[in-house]
Symmetry: C2
Subunit: 209 residues, 2 copies
């Protein structure tokens, strides 16, 4: 990867030119996520993404020399956005089973959505492409750690208890499974029933029912 996303870099001098450059970079990354989610991996070339972002191909290549660099940076960007979404999840109201339900519903919503659709495109190609896979794996691990930490904090779980730790992981795996089901069929009602049944069980396991 050529460089780090703007959000993770140390504070840079904030002249108008740097601002413009950062804005262009961000617009490219966001457009990449949208193109992946809507048009799929094959259609998402640097030229197509630059055109969709209203940026010249040359300017796009100034930021990302290769398509792989752009896609990996977009994946990193979307993982950071998803973790930031988890951080912005309101401190759940209520107590006991209702609180657990609010947290699980929030996790499921955050793990799914457009960012999931875009990530799925990259994962699937990476599954058959060792080079892309090597670039994606460390990001994937970092995101999994970040999501797990947020889930533990929101649920107020003792993460040193192996059983509770495994149940938090199971909840995130469930969220991913529901997101995958949602890619083909919009099954919001079924999803709501599954989330309710799961969170009741989780609340019982946490002694919160």
């Amino acid at each position: 990867m050529a460089d780090r996303p703007a959000g993770a870099a140390p504070a840079a001098p904030a002249g108008p030119q740097q601002d413009r450059s950062r804005q262009t970079r961000r617009r490219l990354l966001e457009t990449t996520v949208r193109c992946l989610a809507t048009h799929g991996f094959q259609a998402s070339t640097v030229g197509f993404i630059a055109a969709e972002a209203g940026i010249s191909r040359g300017a796009a290549q100034h930021h990302f020399r290769t398509r792989e660099a752009l896609i990996v940076a977009a994946l990193e960007h979307m993982f950071d956005e998803r973790v930031a979404l988890l951080d912005r999840l309101a401190e759940p109201a209520g107590a006991g089973a209702e609180r657990v339900h609010a947290v699980v519903a929030g996790l499921v919503e955050t793990v799914g959505g457009d960012l999931f659709r875009a990530a799925l495109q990259v994962w699937t190609v990476a599954a058959a492409d060792p080079e892309l896979r090597a670039a994606v794996l460390p990001l994937e691990r970092r995101f999994a750690r970040g999501a797990h930490e947020r889930a533990v904090r929101l649920l107020g779980v003792d993460d040193t208890d192996p059983r509770l730790r495994a149940l938090v992981q199971a909840t995130l795996d469930l969220a991913r499974g529901l997101a995958l089901a949602g890619v083909l069929t919009d099954d919001a009602r079924r999803r709501a029933r599954v989330v309710r049944a799961w969170s009741d069980q989780l609340a019982a396991a946490l002694g919160a029912d």
Copy 2:
């Protein structure tokens, strides 16, 4: 789709020529699944698959006129194989929580694996391709129904109870989420811990602990 897979067709006259034709068709479908899982969607053209199967391109096109027809038939074939795998899952031994654990572990193994990797390639392309999506959706629904029926039977659950029905669905969504995680990282040990933690919860919900 041009025609039905051999397994689902009514008994045909079993001359040596029909046998050879059925064998060729089956080899093409199995090779398609393997090519999708190993090389991804883009690489899996009719020409590539025919060469991998040791069949001439013309013979392959005699069975499937278009790439989409071949891929959709292969998806149907692999869903049928997965449901057949579920039917072949040994009647789980033991009782109570151990029995529930054996069933959940069997479901997770069956939903994952090479067939999942191949299906993932098709789902992901279908997510951004309305025509392929329309061809895939009915197969997907049929497979989901088949898997749910087998899970209900193996777990001995009363499927008219909405809570238990949702818990069986959650178990299959969890299996799909674990399979997706396994596509990038081979996390068999983590998976085993998650399966154990969830099946203990499910056993408690079913009153089997």
